[in-house]
Every structure is written in C-alpha cells, then in structure tokens.
C-alpha cells in the first residue's frame, strides 16, 4: 500500500531538482507526497523520521535513485508496505495531454507500476493530481489524473473515495 508522507528533502538527478519546492520548505518545512514503498531501498532511521533511496523507474538500471528525507518513521513505511491494496489494478481518469479542461478517460493501471503521486498546484482544479508511473521498463510517464490528492489513499485501499481522509489541515494550506 502507498504511504502519504511529509518529504523534507528530495535530491534527484532528473531535471526536476525542486520536487520539494523551496516555498513548501519555507512555509511548512515539507511537502506532501504519496509514495509507493516498492521503490524504496536503504531505509534508515533519521532523527524522528527516516531517510531512504527511491527509484522513479525501478526496472531501468541506468537511472540513479533519489535520496529522500521524510517525517514518516521506518515502522510506518514498513506497515504501509505490508498493507494490501483493494486490488492490484486501479482505475483512474487520465486527462488527455495532461490538460485538466479535457474529459478524462478511465484507464486502469497496475499499482506496482505507480511510483508516486504529487499534488496539482492549480487551486482551480482541486480534483487533479499528478501520477508518475512506469509503462513497465519502457517509459516513465507523468500523468494528470482526475482525483483529489487526498482521495488517492482511499481509492487504493477501499476501491472508492467515499471515506474521509485524515490528512492534517496543513496540506490544504500548502496548496
């Protein structure tokens, strides 16, 4: 199962060197991400949280791992990884060409292929978030999907978004 986590530092070799945007770090000290624990290696205790390496594309040996520092504890990450998904497939609405004004197309993906979710920063589209997933080893894809960031854990755990999320209110302030 994925884990909703406060990320305080994310160092990667890709073009996006500011996944934890300075504005988030300055105002909150972290940014919320939903990570798939199946990409985590070298998980260690760091202060009251943890640090680990994270693979965006775990099937491609050419890609170096990111280094992440998180406020989630090692135990929380282990528990999340041991929690079963509702199904190994998840169906989400994909916006064509990542355009939130277009009609989303329901598309089913293997949850193991999902790397992480990131919030969509435009407050005019609260029902959108970014999903980064892999088309197996062939390609890494950043896809805008038709679901709120806070609805992701519910749909993966229960198959619906009907339950209320318990995410701290700070997330809303951040967005």
């Amino acid at each position: 199962m994925i884990i909703l986590s406060q990320i305080t530092k994310w160092v990667d070799n890709r073009d996006s060197k500011q996944r934890t945007h300075p504005r988030d770090i300055w105002s909150l000290g972290y940014r919320w991400f939903i990570l798939n624990p199946n990409r985590i290696v070298d998980l260690k205790v760091r202060g009251t949280g943890s640090s680990f390496k994270f693979s965006d594309n775990h099937r491609d040996r050419r890609e170096a791992n990111s280094y992440i520092e998180s406020n989630s504890t090692v135990a929380e990450i282990i528990t999340a990884h041991d929690t079963a998904y509702f199904s190994k497939f998840v169906t989400l609405g994909f916006y064509p060409k990542n355009n939130p004004t277009r009609t989303p197309i329901d598309t089913t993906t293997d949850v193991g292929d999902i790397a992480y979710f990131d919030d969509y920063n435009d407050p005019n589209y609260p029902e959108c978030c970014w999903m980064v997933y892999n088309s197996k080893a062939f390609k890494r894809i950043e896809q805008l999907v038709n679901i709120s960031f806070l609805g992701i854990p519910d749909i993966l755990l229960t198959g619906t978004t009907s339950t209320t999320s318990t995410t701290p209110a700070a997330t809303t302030e951040q967005r």
Partner: protein
C-alpha cells in the same frame, strides 16, 4: 497475477511475429503482469498495452484489443496461483518427437501461451517466457490445451 484466457480482436506490434495470425480459434493465454494503460472499449471489451518484455527498456509495448472485460481482467490479476512456480514439459530444440524435459518456471516470467492449428493437431502448445530481464525463450510444451495450463496454475 497470472495467465488469463482471451480472444484477440486486434494486435499491433513492432515485432516480426504476428501472433494474431497464428492463433488456433483466436485463443491465447496472456499474463496480466504485462498489461498497462487498460481501457474499456464501447463494446465492453478492453484494449491495453502489452509488454512482452517488461524488464527490457528497449522493448516497446504491443497494443492489443481483446474480448475480455475489465472486471474479468481485474479478477484474473487479483487471483492467487497455487504456487509461484509452474512445471512445464518442454521439448528440447523445438522437436516434438524428442522426450520433453520437465522444467520449472515462475508464472510471472511467462508472457503468453498459445496453440497454432498444428499445435492443436499434435496436442502441444507454444510458450513465450523470459529469463527475467535477460533473454526471451520461445518453446513448445507438452500440453494438449490452454485450459489445461490454466487449471495447473490455479487449481
């Protein structure tokens, strides 16, 4: 996660092998762990990208439209095999007159199993499997039907 029996409506691939033309009665076993970007078609069937070699970044996926609904696909993907391994009697050197060798392979390494008309006559099947990310193998196995393979995986 494992194999599911389906019929093929359309199969677009960059590979030389055009499997759709080979299939006897259009039936094939595909592995759900190779599927990506699954979408329902208007007639209730599904289309998806099929990665024959999911661990090889050089291999682009095929586009397949098949006669199985999304709900059924989900059921197959969530199904649990009786064992992670399956044992297949593989004919050495593609020779069906030779004595088959019992070979144990992880189900997740099997990409597809199908029968041509000749296979059906000879009571054998073709199987494509991978040595993880390293190598693709195309073999003939001593199985008289696709349903029998399915039964071995789940029953």
């Amino acid at each position: 996660m494992g194999l599911f029996l389906t019929t093929i409506t359309d199969w677009t691939t960059k590979r030389q092998e055009k499997y759709q033309k080979l299939l006897y009665l259009n039936y094939i076993l595909l592995n759900t762990n190779r599927l990506c970007d699954i979408r329902e078609t208007t007639d209730g069937h599904t289309e998806f990208l099929f990665h024959q070699a999911p661990d090889d970044r050089r291999c682009s996926p095929d586009h397949i439209t098949c006669g199985t609904s999304l709900a059924v696909l989900r059921g197959w993907h969530d199904a649990v095999e009786t064992s992670k391994f399956g044992t297949f009697d593989i004919f050495p050197a593609y020779d069906i007159t030779a004595t088959p060798v019992a070979t144990t392979i992880e189900w997740e390494n099997v990409a597809m199993i199908y029968q041509t008309r000749n296979d059906w006559t000879n009571n054998v099947c073709h199987m494509i499997y991978y040595l993880d990310g390293w190598k693709r193998r195309n073999v003939i196995i001593d199985e008289n039907s696709l349903l029998h393979v399915l039964a071995e995986e789940y029953v």
